[in-house]
C-alpha cells in the first residue's frame, strides 16, 4: 500500500513544487489550499504524513494540528508544521499544538526528500 501524504499550503507555487517532490518519492499526494480543507481531507483520508503550513486562510495550521491531535481517529497522523515566520515562539506554539516536527521555510527539495525517506521509507 503506497503511503499517503497530505500537503496543505495556500501558496499555489509552493504546493505544486512540494507535490512534485513527493511524487518523485512515489507517495500518494493529496493537497489542500486552506486549513478547513486540510482538516476535512485529513479526517476522510487519514494520511500517513501531513505537511501543514501555519499561515493559511479559514483555519491556521496550529488549529488544524490541535484538532487532529485531539481526535483519536486522526491523532496518529505525523504532522510537520511549515512556517515562514522563523521565530522561536512560533516553533514553541507548534509543539504546544501537538505537532511532531517543525520545518522553517525556505527549505530545499533535498531537505524534504531526506525527511520523507526517514519517516515513510
Amino acid at each position: 500500500v503506497p503511503k499517503k501524504v497530505l500537503v496543505a499550503d495556500d501558496e499555489e507555487y509552493i504546493l505544486d513544487a512540494i507535490v512534485e517532490i513527493i511524487k518523485q518519492e512515489n507517495f500518494v499526494t493529496l493537497t489542500a489550499a486552506n486549513g478547513a480543507e486540510a482538516l476535512k481531507l485529513a479526517r476522510t483520508e487519514v494520511p500517513d504524513l501531513l505537511l501543514l503550513d501555519i499561515m493559511m486562510p479559514e483555519k491556521s495550521g496550529f488549529e488544524v494540528c490541535r484538532e487532529l491531535k485531539s481526535d483519536p481517529a486522526t491523532k496518529g497522523i505525523y504532522i510537520i508544521l511549515l512556517t515562514a515566520m522563523g521565530q522561536q515562539r512560533d516553533e514553541e506554539r507548534g509543539y504546544e499544538s501537538g505537532a511532531d516536527e517543525y520545518m522553517t521555510k525556505p527549505f530545499s527539495p533535498r531537505d524534504l526528500k531526506n525527511k520523507l525517506r526517514e519517516l515513510l521509507g
Binding site: E11, Y13, I14, A17, I18, E20, I21, Q24, M55, A84, M85, G86, Q87, Q88, R89, K105, P106, F107, S108, P109, R110, K113
Partner: protein, 546 residues
C-alpha cells in the same frame, strides 16, 4: 489627671470653687448671725425688762424700796408675806416673756426679795455688775446663762402723776433707785435658736452649691459634648469617611460653636480636595492605561509587522529555492552552465534569507519587541557549543580554533541570543583569518570593561582573538555599525553586515559591553562582558520573561 476628661475637669474646678465660696460665706454669715441674734436678744430682753419695770414701778415703790431688816420682818410689823407674794407674782410676769429664763429681784442692799425660775445656786450672789451690763454665769449643773443686771429706778414715765404727788418725789430721779433686777437667759436656748438659723443657712448654702455644680455640669456638657463629638468625627474622617460632620454645637454662638463650624468647613474642604484628587488620579490612571494600551498595541503591531514581513519575504524565497532545487534534482542531465546557475540561485536564496532574518532581528532589537527568554545561563556551555558548531568551518581553512582557559561563568541571559553573539564573533574571526592561522577563544572573570578598561563590577568576559589583517584604529569603534564592515571585507567573505550590530544590541540589552581591539597586521580581538550572577542577585527568582 490624664484619664480625666475636660467635662470632669471643668465640673471639678467649678465645684471646688463653689464649695470653698459656700463654706466661706456660710462661716461668715453664721458668725454674723450669732452677733446679730445676741444683739437682738439683748435688746429685746432689755426692752421687756424696762417695760416691765415701768408697769410695776408702783409695786416696787411700795414694797421693794423699804429697807427691811431681819428683825422687822420677823416682828410681823409689816405684812411681809403679802409683799413677798406680790413681788413674786410680778417677777413671774417677767419670767414668762420671750428669752427670759429667770428673774431675781433684789433690794437696794442686795438682798433677794423675790425670784422666778433661777437655779438655786444662782439666787444668792453678791452684786458686782453695773446697771445694764451683761454677764455670763454657770450653775451647778453646768448650764450657762446670760444675765442682765439692771437698777430699778424710782422715777420714770411709768409712774402716775398722782402717786408722784403723794410720795412727794423730793429726791432727784437720777439718784433714787428702788432695787436691782437680775434677768437670766438660758444660753442653751440661745444656742439652739442660733443653731436653727445656722442650719437653715448651711442647708441653703449646700442646696445653692449643689445647684451651681449641676448647672456647671450642664454648661460643661454644652462645651464638651461638641468637642468630644469633634474628636470622634475627626477619627472617622482620618479613617477615610469624609462625609462625617459635627452636628452638636454647630448652632452655638460662642467659641465652641465657631470651632465646630470651622471644623465642619475644614472637613468639607478636605472632602472636596480628596474627591478632586481621586478624580485627578482616576483621570491620570485612565490616561496612563490608555497610553500603555497604545504602547502595547504599537509593540504588538510592530511585532506583527516584522513577522508578516518575514513571512512575505520567505514565501517567494521558498518557491525559488524549491523550484531551483527541483530543477537541479531533475533526472535529465543539464549543461554545466545551467547547473552552476541553479546552484548560485540556491546559495543566493539562502544568503537573502539570512539577510532578511538579520534585518528583521535588527529591527526587532531596535523596536524593542524581542521576545526575551532570560534564564540562569552558563557561558562556558555556550562557548563550547559555538566552537563545536564552527569547528568544521575552521577546519575548511585549516584554522586552529582553540578554546582554552574556559571557566564556568553564570550569567542571567537569553541563551539563544548570547549563543548568536558568540557564534558571530567566532564566525567573523574564522572568516577574517588566513589559511592555517589560529583563532583563540577564552572565558574569564573581570571587573573592568570597555576599550578604556573602566570598572564594571563582577563580569564574565568572553574574548575572541583572530590572526587576521586587523582593523584600522579609526574603524574600531565603527565596526558595530550596521553594514560598516561589509564595505571593507574581502569580496569572498560572505556575511550580512549586521552580525556585529545585532551583537552590540543584544549585549547592551544584557547590560554588558562589547568592544574590539586591534593592531593592523597582527589580528583583532573582540571582547564582550555580561554581569555575573552574584550572591546579591542570586536570591531573585529567575523569571523567563515573555
Amino acid at each position: 489627671m490624664r484619664r480625666v476628661g475636660i467635662s470632669a475637669k471643668l465640673v471639678l474646678g467649678t465645684a471646688c470653687i463653689l464649695i470653698l465660696l459656700g463654706l466661706a460665706v456660710t462661716w461668715y454669715s453664721v458668725s454674723q448671725l450669732g452677733v446679730l441674734l445676741r444683739q437682738q436678744m439683748e435688746e429685746r430682753v432689755q426692752a421687756q425688762a424696762n417695760n416691765w419695770i415701768e408697769q410695776n414701778r408702783l409695786s416696787f415703790t411700795l414694797f421693794l424700796d423699804i429697807a427691811v431688816d431681819e428683825e422687822t420682818r420677823d416682828s410681823g410689823a409689816i405684812d411681809f408675806v403679802d409683799e413677798q407674794e406680790t413681788l413674786h407674782r410680778v417677777a413671774e410676769q417677767l419670767q414668762e416673756k420671750e428669752w427670759i429664763a429667770y428673774v431675781i429681784l433684789l433690794d437696794q442692799s442686795g438682798n433677794v426679795r423675790a425670784s422666778a425660775g433661777p437655779p438655786e445656786d444662782l439666787v444668792e450672789r453678791p452684786l458686782q455688775a453695773e446697771t445694764g451690763s451683761w454677764d455670763e454665769y454657770r450653775d451647778a449643773q453646768g448650764n450657762s446663762y446670760f444675765e442682765l443686771t439692771m437698777q430699778i429706778s424710782a422715777s420714770g414715765t411709768g409712774m402716775s402723776s398722782d402717786l408722784e404727788a403723794v410720795f412727794g418725789a423730793s429726791q432727784s430721779a437720777e439718784e433714787t433707785y428702788l432695787g436691782w433686777l437680775r434677768v437670766g437667759v438660758d444660753r442653751e436656748e440661745f444656742d439652739r435658736r442660733l443653731d436653727t438659723f445656722a442650719n437653715r443657712n448651711i442647708g441653703l448654702a449646700a442646696v445653692l452649691v449643689a445647684l451651681a455644680v449641676l448647672l456647671s455640669f450642664l454648661f460643661a456638657g454644652r462645651i464638651v459634648t461638641p468637642i468630644t463629638e469633634m474628636g470622634r468625627i475627626a477619627t472617622q474622617i482620618a479613617r477615610g469617611d469624609l462625609s462625617r460632620r459635627v452636628k452638636r454645637g454647630a448652632d452655638l454662638q460662642d467659641e465652641v460653636g465657631e470651632l465646630v463650624r470651622n471644623f465642619n468647613t475644614m472637613a468639607g474642604e478636605i472632602s472636596l480636595l480628596k474627591t478632586g484628587l481621586e478624580k485627578k488620579v482616576q483621570e491620570r490612571t485612565r490616561e496612563l492605561e490608555e497610553a500603555n494600551r497604545k504602547l502595547e498595541e504599537r509593540d504588538r503591531l510592530r511585532s506583527v509587522f516584522v513577522s508578516t514581513v518575514s513571512h512575505e519575504f520567505r514565501t517567494p524565497l521558498t518557491s525559488i529555492k524549491l523550484y531551483a532545487g527541483n530543477l537541479l534534482d531533475a533526472a535529465d542531465p543539464r549543461p554545466e552552465k545551467v547547473r552552476r546557475s541553479l546552484e548560485i540561485i540556491d546559495e543566493e536564496t539562502d544568503r537573502l534569507t539570512r539577510l532578511i532574518d538579520d534585518v528583521l532581528d535588527m529591527r526587532r532589537l531596535e523596536l524593542d519587541v524581542v521576545d526575551w527568554r532570560m534564564a540562569d545561563t552558563d557561558l562556558e556551555e555556550l562557548v563550547r557549543k559555538s566552537t563545536e558548531l564552527l569547528n568544521p568551518q575552521a577546519a575548511k581553512k585549516a584554522i586552529e580554533l582553540r578554546a582554552s582557559e574556559l571557566e564556568h561563568q553564570r550569567v542571567h541571559a537569553d541563551p539563544d541570543w548570547i549563543q548568536r553573539v558568540i557564534n558571530n564573533l567566532i564566525g567573523n574571526a574564522i572568516k577574517f583569518s588566513g589559511q592555517g592561522s589560529r583563532v583563540e577563544v577564552a572565558l574569564a572573570r573581570t571587573s573592568t570593561a570597555g576599550p578604556g578598561r573602566r570598572k564594571c563590577g563582577e563580569c564574565a568576559l568572553v574574548r575572541v582573538a583572530d590572526s587576521g589583517p586587523g582593523i584600522p584604529e579609526e574603524d574600531l569603534s565603527r565596526v558595530f555599525e550596521p553594514f560598516y564592515l561589509a564595505k571593507r571585507r574581502p569580496s569572498k567573505v560572505a556575511g550580512t553586515g549586521l552580525g556585529l550590530a545585532i551583537s552590540r544590541e543584544v549585549v547592551s540589552h544584557h547590560k554588558g559591553e562589547i568592544w574590539a581591539e586591534s593592531r593592523e597586521g597582527s589580528g583583532s580581538t573582540f571582547y564582550f562582558t555580561l554581569p555575573l550572577v552574584t550572591s546579591s542577585n542570586l536570591g531573585e527568582p529567575v523569571v523567563v520573561s515573555e
